[in-house]
């Protein structure tokens, strides 16, 4: 059976990671920045699963499991911070939250 080469998965992953990075760098809305970080995490997960399948090693999929658990924790904390920010300053735009800026 002919399979898709590993390179294609890695290039797709790098494209998605780059899209996520551009989202983090250019968007002001904290929730969209947060979603872009999720995009980057998923790109890395795709790399893990691709290597795991091509090398026949279960470790890659275990690490995807751990990354998903960390992402779930990050989602709760990140959104709680956004809620706290909104309650304090009535905004979710990251450039308006500059209290720590010197």
């Amino acid at each position: 059976m002919q399979t898709v080469p590993l390179e294609f998965y890695l290039i797709l992953s790098s494209i998605i990671f780059t899209i996520g990075t551009i989202g983090v760098l250019t968007r002001r809305n904290a929730i969209v920045v947060f979603m872009s970080i999720e995009l980057m995490l998923n790109a890395v997960n795709l790399t893990f699963v691709a290597f795991s399948a091509f090398f026949g090693d279960v470790a890659g999929q275990i690490f995807v499991f751990f990354v998903m658990a960390v992402a779930a924790g990050e989602a709760t904390i990140g959104l709680a911070i956004v809620l706290a920010l909104f309650r304090k300053k009535q905004t979710v735009y990251v450039d308006e939250a500059s209290n720590l800026k010197w």
Binding site: M1, Q2, T3, V4, P5, L6, E7, F8, I11, L12, S14, I15, I16, T18, I19, G20, T21, I22, L25, T26, R27, R28, N29, I31, V32, M35, S36, E38, L39, N42, N45, L46, V49, S52, A53, F54, F55, G56, V58, A59, Q61, I62, V64, F65, F66, M68, A69, V70, A72, G73, A75, T76, I77, L79, A80, I81, L83, A84, V92, Y93
Partner: protein, 169 residues
């Protein structure tokens, strides 16, 4: 052109398109729904790699739990559409896109010039993608990280409650 190639190309096109909608849309809710589509496409890509368990977890945890949380917060805050970005951000966006394109080109050249990558999916991949194999590895070799993940999730729950609760005067 095998069926697998066809599925890979369709899933890739939709994954990249939905990722672009996620970061380009002015409406956060539309971004969130595009991200759900993106997660479903990635689950399909995991299936083409014979990772059944990870694909199901992707749909349940990412497409379900995390995105419900995100959409809930967007609707709770009732955000207006973002106005177009100020001009001062334009040079930064240009720089980000240029560096991103350079990054992808670099990866493409690096991957296609390396000759020692495996060209075929391992014959073990169907076996190791099942829930029983992952569970076996999780409770033997990776038991300590698994327990620590439990503590991490507990602290995340406590942290979220502390951050989000109203101060009692």
């Amino acid at each position: 052109m095998s069926l697998l190639y066809f599925f890979f190309i369709v899933l890739t096109v939709f994954a990249i398109a939905s990722a672009l909608v996620t970061i380009l849309s002015r409406n956060p809710l539309r971004s969130a729904f595009a991200l759900v589509v993106h997660f479903l496409m990635l689950a399909g890509l995991y299936l083409t790699l014979n990772a059944q368990f990870i694909a199901i977890i992707q749909v349940l945890v990412y497409g379900g739990a995390i995105m419900v949380l995100v959409i809930f917060v967007i609707m709770l805050l009732n955000l207006a559409r973002e106005e177009s970005l100020a001009e001062k951000f334009d040079y930064r966006r240009l720089l980000a896109v240029a560096l991103g394109v350079a990054f992808v080109l670099q990866f493409t050249i690096a991957f296609f010039s390396s000759k020692n990558l495996n060209s075929n999916i391992s014959s073990d991949s169907v076996r190791i993608g099942t829930a029983s194999e992952i569970g076996k590895a999780l409770f033997t070799n990776y038991l300590v990280p698994f327990e620590i993940i439990g503590i991490l999730l507990l602290s995340a729950i406590i942290g979220a409650i502390v951050l989000a609760k109203r101060k009692v005067e």
